[in-house]
């Protein structure tokens, strides 16, 4: 069994490969040296197929496709681009932030999320991309997302595109400026899915009601087998939702230690057990430094759907380690003892091969890590 970790960074892409049950790893790369790789993902439906979001910084966005495990890359003939605006603010894609393979029954379908926030779809394996008009041109779209200049300093992002394994028509997306939205008709129509989610950066409504949208989800995951089980790490806490039982998120982050808090970016879920998740809380106090609290890195794991959490830090520096872990920078493999992988903004790749109990440094001195994914192949 071969394990490959795909690492996207601010300055190119690398892979780490192990052919001996995750004991030894060799690093390969770079690919696209100098380019911003926001997301580097493999296609679970087609062995060897990989897609990479490549941004040059100044030359606009693009997507590259490899069909041979990353050896050779071909640029998309038609990268994601907004249609000409007949009126209002003309929109231009700054970078492709997120890539998601489509449903298993549609091996040529891919989705992409961009900054400024837009949803795109390819039906030819990533070569040509079109807007998902039901989302990008939704009558309430501007209200949901705000103006393109209203977002975070490096741009508001559409992320966490989830395709329900049980129903290809059921899609969810997160907008870092706007909230979570859901479609049951393959993207033709959408509704907000933000009940129960705090939005304490806005003034409370005078009538005591909740905001329906405008939230700031950071990362959302759907369990691959029990797809009703959703989790999401938000700007305002950590949440779980059993979609079969309703549409109101529960704030499970209240069960994290108060001195740690429940602010962070990444979240991953166990490939078989929907009750097990891992998060990496970061400091959301004061100036929002977004580093691990007190400079003491730790992953927190729950085995009971977020009712209780364990602090996991064996192998990490014990102090003065001010890590930031971005939202695409945690991943899990599907081994019996699940491997958990974590990339930091200071270019270190860490892994645990005992479900988070202990951690090993696999690579250091890489550029700022933007995405981490692991692929297992025969």
């Amino acid at each position: 069994m071969k394990h490959t970790v795909l690492v996207g960074t601010r300055k190119g892409a690398w892979t780490l490969v192990s052919s001996n049950q995750r004991r030894d790893w060799r690093i390969q790369g770079p690919r696209h040296l100098g380019a911003v790789i926001s997301h580097y993902v493999a296609d679970p439906r087609r062995d060897g197929c990989q897609l990479m979001s490549v941004g040059s910084g100044h030359l606009g966005p693009s997507i590259f496709v490899s069909m041979d495990h990353g050896e050779n890359w071909v640029e998309a003939a038609q990268p994601p681009a907004f249609s000409p605006a007949p009126a209002g603010e003309p929109r231009t894609v700054d970078h492709v932030f997120w890539l998601t393979p489509g449903h298993a029954s549609e091996p040529d379908v891919w989705y992409a999320g961009t900054s400024p926030q837009g949803l795109f779809k390819s039906v030819d394996g990533g070569n040509h991309w079109e807007e998902v008009l039901g989302f990008n041109h939704h009558p309430q779209g501007l209200e949901w997302r705000g103006g393109d200049k209203d977002g975070t300093p490096d741009g508001p992002k559409l992320h966490s595109i989830l395709v329900d394994p049980a129903d290809k028509c059921h899609l969810l997306v997160g907008m870092s400026g706007g909230g979570i939205f859901e479609s049951f008709d393959e993207g033709a129509s959408w509704e907000p899915l933000n009940k129960g989610v705090a939005m304490d950066f806005y003034p409370p409504k005078e009538d005591g009601s909740e905001y329906a949208f405008g939230h700031d989800p950071h990362c959302m995951v759907m369990h691959p087998e029990f797809s009703n089980r959703l989790y999401h790490q938000n700007h305002c806490g950590l949440y779980a939702l059993d979609r079969a039982k309703g549409d109101r998120w529960q704030r499970i982050g209240d069960n994290l230690p108060r001195e740690v808090g429940d602010i962070g970016f990444p979240i991953v879920v166990h490939p078989r057990d929907p009750e097990t998740i891992w998060v990496f809380p970061m400091d959301g106090s004061g100036q929002w430094p977004r580093v691990c609290p007190q400079g003491k890195p730790a992953v927190y794991r729950s085995r009971d759907g977020g009712q209780t959490f364990e602090r996991l830090c064996q192998g990490f520096p014990i102090e003065q380690a001010w890590w930031t872990v971005k939202r695409q920078c945690m991943a899990v493999d599907a081994e019996e003892q699940v491997g958990v992988y974590l990339g930091t903004a200071n270019g270190e790749l860490w892994a645990s091969f005992d479900e988070g109990d202990s951690w090993r440094l696999l690579a250091r001195d890489l550029p700022q890590i933007y995405s981490v994914e692991v692929v297992t192949s025969p």
């Binding site: 040059s56 100044h58 606009g60 681009a81 003309p90």
Partner: protein, 94 residues
């Protein structure tokens, strides 16, 4: 002939070519403009246009286009058949 000078950022598209001469003449119904050069580059090196011009038809923010020594911000800038066109890509940022 229009002399075109290209930046290193486009090497992946042009195979590292930094300079070329284009034998372009004005169409019958209008004068030659800068957009004709971009179109010809796209015809020769697919993908170049989207690196220089965004989907709304605007020159990308960190790209500068010069006709002679004058920076222009419109693809409709008129050209003479012996002009020198230079595409400059910013290398700002860390």
């Amino acid at each position: 002939m229009i002399r075109v000078v290209l930046p290193s950022q486009l090497d992946d598209y042009t195979g590292g070519l930094r300079e070329l001469a284009l034998d372009l003449s004005a169409p019958d119904d209008r004068a030659l403009v800068l957009n004709d050069v971009i179109d010809e580059l796209e015809r020769r090196y697919r993908g170049v246009r989207f690196r220089v011009v965004d989907e709304q038809g605007a020159i990308r923010r960190h790209i500068a286009l010069f006709v002679g020594q004058t920076m222009v911000r419109t693809l409709q800038a008129p050209l003479a058949t012996d002009d020198r066109v230079q595409i400059v890509g910013a290398l700002s940022g860390g």
